[in-house]
Symmetry: C2
Subunit: 319 residues, 2 copies
């Protein structure tokens, strides 16, 4: 049997203080995963960096202190092990974002997809790191992702999951990636029908990253990115927040599940732990993929070369 219709859960997290031991956070995630399983979800989506406070908001001097936020070695056997055990015991898959420290000393903002047997079936490393390499003097909160993380080196590799669990073609994005149509399109070109994304996004812009953007505008941008890119690629999408006042900084909520027409099916109402659910039918992606967005009939890749040949924008002059 092939499972195209199933229930999916977005597990929004409230704040995680830097003083909370990771074991406690994993316990909290286990309870939420059990909640999703109790509600017959096949897959639960946690946010980006779901095991700790969003540490890139601070300038941290000591590499040892920085590394304490990262998971080293085999994630299935460390502090996160109970989450894999719940997955296997309850037959529910999950997506989890966490900070990954590799054996050769690389630091990534990583996400993994775990199937309903507690097995990792895909890993992704954030491609579009926002923020800065160097701290900004006088800023209340930094955005130092470019300092603490290496750029993701995996690219956008979609994965076809076990059809007896969920028969999906899954693409993974992390936070800021959702604003970059190139990322979605790379997955769309592999037939993605389910996009998973987790985020930690400040509710208010600062001179560093958003200018004069207020909370409503930043939420509008976030929703718009998920809705439009879901439509352009005719895919379901789940975008899930870590939110609320976390160690003094307000992070936006608004976790949502979107259909392949770019419409919101369900959106979180709170700014704390909240599990949202949607019953989805992946066959609803077929209409878009075979008509408006039948790439094989309509795309013009021979005209798109600027997208790969150029990183920044050129400046034209009047002639």
């Amino acid at each position: 049997m092939t499972v195209r219709k199933f229930k999916i859960a977005g597990v929004q997290l409230g704040p995680i203080s830097k003083n909370t031991p990771k074991e406690k956070t994993v316990e909290r995630l286990c309870r939420l995963l059990e909640d999703a399983a109790d509600n017959q979800a096949s897959l639960a989506v946690f946010p980006e960096l779901a095991l700790s406070s969003f540490f890139p908001r601070w300038y941290i001097d000591s590499q040892e202190d920085i590394d304490s936020y990262f998971e080293k070695g085999n994630i299935t056997t460390g502090v996160v092990k109970p989450l894999f055990e719940v997955s296997k015991a309850r037959g529910i898959g999950f997506f989890l974002g966490y900070a990954e420290l590799t054996n050769d000393g690389k630091h990534y903002n990583t996400g993994i997809l775990v199937n309903n047997k507690g097995e990792i079936v895909q890993k992704y490393r954030k491609s579009h790191l926002p923020g800065f390499d160097e701290p900004t003097e006088g800023a209340e909160f930094q955005q130092l992702e470019k300092r603490y993380f290496d750029q993701g080196d995996i690219g956008f590799q979609a994965v076809k999951t076990d059809p007896e669990w969920v028969d999906a073609t899954v693409g993974i994005l992390i936070c800021n990636d959702r604003r970059w149509p190139e990322a979605w399109r790379c997955y769309g070109l592999q037939g993605m029908d389910l996009c998973l994304n987790g985020y930690n996004t400040a509710s208010n812009g600062t001179s560093l990253f958003g200018g004069e953007e207020n909370k409503a505008l930043r939420l509008y941008h976030s929703d718009l990115s998920t809705k439009a890119n879901a439509y352009f690629n005719s895919t379901f999408a789940v975008s899930v927040a870590k939110c609320g006042f976390e160690d003094g900084q307000e992070l936006m909520a608004g976790s949502l599940i979107v259909d392949p027409n770019g419409r919101v099916i369900v959106q979180a109402k709170t700014e704390e732990d909240e599990v949202i659910f949607a019953d989805i039918d992946l066959d609803e992606t077929i209409n878009g993929k075979t008509k408006m967005f039948d790439f094989s009939r309509h795309r013009r890749p021979e005209l798109y070369s600027r997208i790969v040949e150029q990183k920044g924008s050129i400046e034209l002059s009047f002639q």
Copy 2:
């Protein structure tokens, strides 16, 4: 003096019957352009194929009949000449979509940008032709753009306009192009701060192109495409409809002007001739271009190769 703040007009058109002589239509467009000039607009945006009924809805056997919808030779001296004269006399630029037949027999769905002196400063030919090469039996309305038009061969060449008229970097899209983020990004990578688009879009989906999409959903898709791509590239955008019941087929309205945050500044309220206006300041694009969407700092072109190396989608299998 460099003009970064100015008034822009979207000139929505109601239906144009196939029985209307082109001279009459051009007269109508001249009056609307004068209306825009009376309101101190610097630039007025007409829709796609603004000189005739949307003829790709019919299967037309005779090439002579097809060609009657096209403009041959120098467009500034033919039936459209009065529009260039109003432009020059009133000092207002315009964008116009029309069907272009070249001297060597090519047929394009074309748009031109004309400055405030009645001079053509840029030409664009639609890249993403929707529809089919062959008529579909039993369909009430066809969508035969792929039959009647050659694919645009120009690509996406932005143009910097005379700063004493409007100091803009303009990108031109036609109708279905607005749904393709690749097209916007090619312009965004040239610093586009004003995107002009005209469309003829059926209000209701059919088995041919939209499936079970109703009018509200198709308008949602259209708006979403303009809003999101404007945000992703931090550009103003003007998308203008030809709309209403045209020779029996209902075309959607909803012409709109969008800011670089992807927010609607103004949207047409009717489904007939209606000029909408917005006072825009192109410097509002700078925040996005230098922060969230500073391409030179954040893009990862080395990961995007699938976008140009592949036209259609590949299919993955479970392993």
